[in-house]
């Protein structure tokens, strides 16, 4: 590949492996980057607002919208009866996700109607005026209630099994049975959901949607309206954050906006208030993990049985693949010789939970790390020792519970490098000494690894398209199916194209993701954005390059091998032709300067029924060491220091990748510490705004924060420039903070008891764990 050539002596500005800034950075800082609510509205734009249910589970006895209709500014009111075709936006076509509730409401906050008014404020006011009578039904709000009510599932569970787990557990010298509750998480993208629909002629409508999955929004809106997909255009230039929360959830807003826009033949925008956004859209699943582990006296795991019950909410949404992925990561980095894992995707009368960075994986990984802790405290060992003893290893210890062989593990090296660079052992000794003084403040330290499987487990999603135009002035227009939500995807893919043509990055303009340009795209999710779209864009660039090479070799009578793209221009035999000159000449010679690129991930397959296959193309790895202090009188804590060594293969852009690692880590820490979702006994979410739902602030960062990429790592598979996906894996590095807090808690009972700290480990949970351990025989403060 030309990108690897070094003979030109210089490099293009902004090729791969360079720390380019985000392509919109200068617009972010000046406020000039347009999000959907910032776009200029055509004259006549209307605003929609949702009316939400006020019962967790109930029959709708009557709906009186008279006052809504007569409120100032109101133009129209929409209910289920107004939906022209199918009242469903289920991303998995389960027909359980109505746009508007019909005869029953399934959770507190479910959309029942929408009001369309001249201004957003008028629509919002009007929406409060509905009178809806409910006949309450029994509501199962949480996992325990769902189990007690019979354990209805929203989708088919998964079982992964290998070996003879019952025998292994029965014969194990040591065995621990336990439970862990793992809390959910709100995405808290800073830009909330929004859709803006502009009607076109015939059946067409263009929808600007803050979505990670334009093709799905297109499909579902077409289904709701009863038109073909080709009538619906969905576009998104950028999102103000997504994190999975804008994978399936935007479809409802897009559908309401499109429906109203077509009905009224006027542009319609819908943007819920933050509180309504948090109440009416799905979150990370909370889980209850029941584990049974057998192990030997050295701490080697002999067998694991686990049940992973998840609060899925009222509909399937993506709970199937999310709970599947929890099982795929229930081993984290550890070899389970005998294993049986089952998922329980439970139906509850709460908002339907959805994708969130890690997609169930983090919950599986947290469970694995709890198992490690249990073993360590039972044996009186450093949990790190247990971790190392159980890492995937050579043949015989390299097969996952889903029968994929781990061939690319770099954790032995990565963890030992981090252990040394962070001075783990000496610091742990110092902390043990500190805690022996028995003060109010206790410390803890933990090194936790992550191994994360990369690919959509729904194999067909592992495809991507790109559309590349080279204009006759030599400027390049790049478009691909991936969406930009801040992760720097547009920048990375543009770098790949710049590298292919050996042109400077500023020659390339990336345009809004559009279903009109690249069809049938997959969600920008599963960390796959760069892997898939980067390859598709490279494929498009290679096609155009081949045409240019063929043209140049014919025009200047040289062999194709003698045409190479370098930073100074295109070398054609002995002469150098500037890129734009070559392009202009090619245009005059009627060379096709546009190409659609395509990519599909090779070698992956998955048989869900059998629980066997190779669902993942490769694994990404990382590890973190965190040190914390806790206050044993209040449960307050702070992260004193974190050291991270993370594997992104050969980084496409080290600055962007480092940003993903830092940001993912802090988001993971938030999930496991201060971010608490709290429903009352009526099923109302009461932590529905930043005043009550606490994501990390700048002052919650580790006091010392050292982040490094494992620069020696290269993807063993032929991924785009041997890089690895980076979006999700770093989130799980936050587990090091949870485990460090746990160690500090354990110190009050001299580390004889596993604190079994559930998450989020709020100051309250930490204090209660301290009290519990003290009551079990630890010393008084």
């Amino acid at each position: 590949m030309d990108g690897g050539r070094k003979d030109a002596g210089t490099r293009v500005r902004g090729g791969v492996h360079s720390a380019e800034r985000h392509d919109s950075a200068h617009k972010h800082v000046t406020g000039a980057a347009d999000y959907i609510d910032d776009m200029v509205e055509p004259v006549g734009t209307l605003h929609a607002y949702l009316g939400l249910s006020e019962a967790a589970h109930a029959e709708i006895v009557s709906i009186d919208l008279t006052a809504v209709r007569s409120a100032p500014g109101v133009v129209d009111v929409l209910t289920a009866a107004d939906i022209p075709a199918v009242n469903d936006v289920s991303p998995v076509h389960a027909h359980d996700d109505p746009v508007f509730a019909e005869d029953k409401v399934m959770f507190w906050g479910q959309p029942v109607f929408a009001v369309i008014a001249e201004s957003r404020l008028q629509a919002r006011h009007a929406a409060t005026l509905a009178r809806i009578d409910y006949r309450p039904l029994d509501a199962a709000i949480d996992i325990d209630a769902a189990m007690a009510a019979g354990g209805d599932l929203v989708t088919k569970p998964l079982k992964l099994e290998r070996g003879s787990v019952d025998k292994a557990l029965a014969e194990a010298p040591n065995r621990i049975i336990g439970n862990m509750e793992i809390g959910g998480q709100d995405h808290f993208y800073l830009e909330g959901h929004i859709a803006f629909a502009i009607p076109g002629e015939d059946e067409t409508v263009t929808i600007h949607s803050s979505t990670q999955h334009p093709s799905e929004a297109q499909t579902l809106v077409a289904q709701v309206l009863g038109v073909a997909a080709n009538a619906i255009s969905v576009q998104v230039r950028r999102m103000g954050g997504g994190f999975g929360g804008k994978e399936s959830q935007p479809a409802l807003f897009a559908a309401v906006a499109a429906l109203a826009a077509k009905r009224l033949n006027r542009p319609v925008k819908i943007r819920p208030d933050r509180d309504d956004d948090m109440i009416a859209t799905g979150k990370r699943h909370d889980f209850k993990v029941a584990y049974d582990v057998g192990f030997d006296d050295e701490g080697r795991i002999l067998g694991v049985e686990g049940t992973y019950a998840a609060r899925c909410g009222f509909s399937a949404d993506l709970s199937g693949p999310v709970t599947d992925r929890a099982l795929f990561h229930a081993d984290n980095a550890y070899y389970f010789p005998h294993v049986r894992l089952k998922s329980l995707p439970l139906k509850t009368n709460t908002v339907s939970n959805t994708a969130f960075r890690g997609f169930g994986g983090p919950q599986g990984v947290v469970g694995a790390e709890r198992i490690v802790e249990e073993i360590a405290y039972a044996l009186g060992k450093d949990p790190l020792e247990i971790r190392k003893a159980n890492f995937y290893g050579p043949p015989g210890r390299d097969v996952t519970p889903y029968h994929q062989t781990v061939t690319d593990s770099i954790l032995d090296r990565l963890v030992s490098e981090l252990e040394i660079s962070s001075d783990y052992q000496a610091r742990r000794e110092a902390i043990l000494d500190f805690n022996r003084q028995g003060g109010v403040i206790r410390k803890g330290i933990a090194l936790t690894p992550v191994k994360f499987g990369i690919s959509f487990t729904a194999t067909w999603f592992n495809q991507a398209g790109a559309l590349l135009h080279v204009y006759k002035d030599g400027s390049i227009h790049l478009n691909h199916g991936g969406t930009e939500m801040g992760q720097g995807l547009f920048t990375k893919v543009a770098q790949i194209v710049a590298d292919c043509f050996q042109v400077d990055l500023d020659r390339i303009r990336v345009s809004a993701t559009s279903t009109e340009k690249v069809p049938n795209t997959s969600a920008t999710a599963a960390s796959s954005g760069s892997d898939l779209n980067g390859m598709a864009a490279q494929n498009a660039a290679e096609q155009i390059k081949q045409r240019l090479v063929a043209f140049a070799s014919e025009k200047w009578s040289v062999s194709a091998e003698e045409v190479t793209f370098g930073p100074g221009g295109v070398c054609v035999g002995s002469k150098t032709v500037p890129f734009d000159v070559l392009v202009a000449e090619a245009y005059m010679a009627r060379v096709h300067l546009s190409a659609a690129g395509f990519y599909k991930t090779p070698d992956i397959h998955w048989d869900r029924e059998a629980g066997k296959g190779r669902p993942f193309y490769y694994f990404a790895y990382g590890a973190a060491v965190s040190e914390v202090s806790i206050d044993t009188l209040t449960g307050e804590y702070r992260v004193e220091r974190t050291d991270i060594l993370h594997d992104v293969g050969k980084s496409l852009n080290p600055a962007i990748d480092k940003g993903q690692v830092e940001g993912g880590f802090v988001q993971g820490v938030g999930w496991l510490t201060t971010e608490e979702l709290w429903w009352d006994d009526k099923g109302r979410l009461r932590t529905h705004a930043p005043s009550t739902y606490k994501i990390p602030l700048a002052s919650d960062r580790p006091r010392i924060f050292n982040v490094a990429l494992a620069e020696w790592s290269e993807n063993k598979e032929r991924t785009i420039r041997r890089s690895k996906a980076v979006g999700e894996p770093p989130l799980m590095l936050g587990i090091s903070v949870l485990e460090a807090i746990s160690m500090a808690v354990a110190s009050v009972a001299d580390y004889r008891e596993c604190p079994r700290l559930d998450t989020p480990a709020t100051p309250e949970r930490v204090l209660m764990a301290v009290e519990r351990l003290r009551a079990h025989g630890g010393a008084e403060a």
Binding site: G31, R274, V440, L633, E636, M768
Partner: protein
């Protein structure tokens, strides 16, 4: 009756704005985004907790202009009368390019999705202009009110520290300061302002006496000081607050004095304005004070408002009650002075007549040798509402507790003293045994609620433990809490 001005006047970046049609609940953010089409300022939460809408509001103070960050989403439009509103669109560097703070954010990869970025930039700019982004602590404090979900803040802090090295001389806003002052002075007329939209009216009294007169006339009016609470009545509960009487501009309510053994804060003194005098006279309070809201909220919110609204979880009432603070209430007929703890009657009920307003709070200086502490317990350290707030003032004479004032927030329907625990301490030795007896007595003083901030069990346990922390901190050598 005074002639009222029928328009509000302010500078928006370099333009003078005059608006006659303004409703009581109109927000600055909606005005910027919808009327002025300045869309660099974002709405993230509409409750002053995320900072995406951060803008600067400059007001005349002591012959100059003091620029402060505010949350435009809950800052009500009428309250920017005679102020200079500066949005991200106006920010620029020496040659009209990026400002140093913006350039550093670009260079250090401080933005990812970019939605929080304009607000972050405005907060950092305000710090840069005021004190320089010279320490991690200063930057973290400036960013207490700015949420970022993408970066983990590390690159933002790096950017801030890099920008901190640039000298603020020649900054565009400093350069035009004199001119802006002149323009604001020319707009000022000392008049009462009264503006309306549809049926909704906003009134800005000419002075404190005028406020009393207006209150006598509009007994059902909503008094708006910093709008950090009232703003949410509008944006979240969609309450009609008309007629709203704005008091944040009244200089008489912004007076700070130290006399007769007490610090007196006018009811309109913001947390930020009060911070220096609080730090000077109450050595136990600076850390606590910096954990009230975020920076924007401290710039807007007032001590008087924190008291007047009667919330059981306001941060300052327990602190002030422990110190024995008093309130002055005023109306046309005159003033009266009461003990602060007597102001709080029950949940939602305070000792304030409809035509009265809180004029000032008087905080006695701590007695020599008294032991004082104030603690806030919340899920997140900064910019959170307390689950429990404990403030203690104990005087030990000859080894025995002579006086004890133990006040708690979050433990009852009002901020309240722990009578039983106080009784358990007074007359006893200042010892762990007496403190443990007081901890036990707390169980009879309070029956807290369980809610999303904390369970009753945790509140009770931690309230008691805070007494132990207080004892350990005043007697022990070991640290009894996490360092700031």
């Amino acid at each position: 009756m005074t002639m009222a001005r029928g328009e509000i006047r302010f500078l928006l970046n370099d333009r003078e704005i005059r608006l006659g049609t303004v409703g009581a609940g109109d927000t600055l953010l909606d005005h910027l985004r919808l009327d002025q089409r300045l869309r660099g300022t974002k709405e993230g939460c509409a409750e002053g907790d995320c900072g995406a809408c951060t803008v600067l509001v400059g007001r005349r103070a002591g012959g100059t202009i003091r620029y402060e960050t505010v949350n435009a989403c809950i800052r009500l439009l009428a309250s920017v009368d005679l102020c200079h509103v500066v949005t991200v669109e106006y920010l620029r560097g020496p040659e009209g390019g990026l400002h140093a703070v913006q350039q550093a954010m670009v260079d250090h990869h401080g933005s990812q999705c970019g939605f929080c970025t304009p607000g972050v930039v405005m907060s950092l700019y305000a710090l840069w202009m005021e004190a320089g982004c010279t320490s991690v602590e200063a930057v973290e404090t400036a960013l207490q009110g700015n949420l970022c979900r993408c970066t983990g803040y590390e690159p933002i802090v790096r950017a801030a520290l890099a920008a901190g090295n640039t000298a603020p001389d020649g900054d565009f806003l400093a350069a035009e300061r004199a001119h802006v002052l002149e323009r604001l002075a020319a707009m000022t007329d000392g008049a009462r302002v009264m503006v309306s939209r549809d049926e909704s009216t906003a009134i800005l009294p000419a002075n404190a006496g005028d406020l009393a007169v207006i209150l006598a006339e509009y007994k059902d009016a909503t008094i708006v000081a910093g709008s950090t609470d009232v703003g949410l009545w509008v944006t979240k509960h969609m309450r009609d607050i008309s007629p709203a009487i704005f008091v944040g501009h009244l200089d008489e309510l912004k007076r700070i004095s130290v006399e007769e053994g007490a610090v007196t804060l006018g009811a309109g003194v913001s947390y930020s304005d009060a911070a220096p005098v609080i730090a000077e006279h109450f050595s136990h309070l600076p850390e606590f004070w910096s954990r009230i809201g975020g920076w924007q909220v401290r710039n807007m919110g007032t001590v008087g408002g924190n008291i007047a609204n009667g919330s059981p979880i306001g941060d300052t009432p327990p602190v002030l009650i422990a110190l024995g603070a008093e309130l002055t209430l005023r109306r046309v007929e005159g003033q009266r002075r009461i003990l602060l703890e007597e102001y709080f009657i029950d949940y939602g009920k305070q000792d304030r007549a409809p035509d009265e307003f809180v004029e000032a709070v008087h905080i006695p200086l701590p007695a020599a040798g008294s032991l004082n502490a104030a603690y806030k317990i919340s899920k997140r350290r900064d910019e959170d509402i307390s689950a429990v707030c404990g403030a203690f003032s104990v005087t030990v004479e000859e080894g025995l507790v002579a006086r004890a004032r133990l006040a708690f927030g979050g433990m009852a329907a009002t901020p309240k003293r722990a009578a039983g625990a106080e009784a358990a301490l007074v007359g006893q030795a200042w010892s762990e045994a007496s403190v443990r007896a007081a901890m036990a007595a707390l169980a009879d003083d309070f029956s807290p609620l369980s809610d999303w901030r904390a369970s009753a069990e945790y509140r009770s346990r931690v309230a008691a433990n805070l007494l132990l922390r207080f004892y350990l901190e005043t007697t022990g050598s070991q640290p009894a809490r996490l360092s700031a």
